[in-house]
């Protein structure tokens, strides 16, 4: 069953004609995702590799029935692109773009508040339900349909976890990259709540990193509500305080947001916490036995 995306999801690509947009559109299509339209202002009425291109999202929704969007729009315009998709009634907006100003994301959060749309990202690899739908940039070939959910702030560490799981013959229900920015549309708790209800998900892997308190909130949720085993890894055990480690949100500031605190809290709440990312597959395998 998976969560949020499946074989029926109809995806439009904002920024389809750009370098990244066009490459990843082709990759998603090859995987079997239904890419029904593209949006590039000024190129409406043309086609891109056989896909109809529109000037705006609402035209693409009206003509092609798109209900999800994958955004490859550069940082200065990406927040607007998200809000345009939301205004047009897109239910699931996946924003890949890295570098959107935090203040812009505050506006987006405000704009979306109380609405029906879900934003995944920004600065994320996207979401994949293996075997049915990929909206994002993750390498499809390492995935296997199955019953483990993955939620992660790091794209490449998700791929690491997925690669290990697949090589143990353990497949994934849905993998969600929530992104590396300090303000994101979907957090660990949102995804955990959905996995909790998903009959096809038997266990979850959480990959977090230094900065913020999302993992601590996730741990509380797991303790209070979550019914299935959880394996966790936190990146940044040796990160020096005050230095932003790549991701905009990955920074230990004013002494808080350390890996140690997160690992401790997660362990207290019943999450099986690992200190090496190389152990994820084996840990899940042991839990599922």
């Amino acid at each position: 069953m998976a969560i949020w995306v499946n074989a029926e999801t109809r995806v439009l690509v904002q920024g389809i004609t750009g370098r990244e947009g066009s490459f990843h559109t082709a990759q998603c299509q090859a995987y079997g995702t239904q890419i029904v339209a593209g949006v590039t202002p000024g190129k409406g009425g043309t086609t891109h590799e056989g896909i109809p291109v529109y000037d705006g999202v609402s035209q693409a929704v009206a003509r092609e029935g798109a209900n999800a969007s994958m955004i490859f729009v550069p940082p200065p315009f990406a927040a607007d692109a998200v809000m345009e998709a939301v205004s047009a009634g897109i239910e699931l907006v996946v924003c890949i773009t890295e570098g959107i100003p935090t203040l812009d994301m505050l506006k987006v959060t405000q704009f979306m508040s109380g609405g029906k749309s879900r934003l995944i990202g920004p600065n994320c690899p996207g979401i994949i339900s293996p075997g049915s739908c990929k909206i994002g940039i993750m390498p499809a070939s390492i995935h296997l349909p199955g019953s483990v959910g993955c939620i992660s702030r790091s794209g490449t560490l998700t791929y690491e976890a997925v690669g290990q799981l697949t090589s143990c013959g353990i497949g994934q229900s849905t993998c969600i990259g929530i992104g590396g920015d300090p303000i994101v549309g979907t957090g660990f708790v949102d995804a955990l709540a959905a996995f909790n209800q998903d009959a096809d998900t038997e266990a979850v892997v959480i990959i977090g990193e230094i900065g913020g308190s999302a993992e601590e909130e996730a741990a509380e949720y797991v303790k209070q509500h979550f019914q299935k085993p959880v394996v966790g890894f936190i990146a940044g055990q040796t990160a020096p305080p005050g230095r932003r480690m790549g991701h905009a949100g990955a920074i230990i500031s004013q002494g808080t947001g350390t890996a140690a605190e997160k690992m401790e809290k997660m362990t207290e709440c019943g999450i099986h916490v690992l200190s090496s990312p190389a152990e994820i597959g084996a840990a899940v395998e042991a839990l599922l036995k």
Binding site: Q27, I137, P139, I142, G163, S276, A278
Partner: protein, 65 residues
């Protein structure tokens, strides 16, 4: 980040900087074959690692010898 882009970056950086310390590379993911080819065809000497644990072990060995 696609493997071919990473490989090109590693090769270019090694050239620009004149790398004289051991380099361990582990590549997996999108365009991995292209990435491996770029590394093989370069002048760069490097060790290939299969997984994260293997890569870490190889780095430790290189530092300790």
């Amino acid at each position: 980040m696609r493997c071919d882009i990473v490989a090109e970056g590693v090769v270019q950086a090694a050239k620009d900087l004149g790398v004289s310390i051991p380099v361990v590379v582990r590549l997996e993911g999108t365009n991995v074959e292209k990435g491996r080819e770029i590394l093989q065809n370069s002048d760069l000497e490097f060790e290939v690692a299969l997984g994260m644990a293997d890569a870490a072990a190889k780095v430790c060995r290189a530092v300790l010898t």
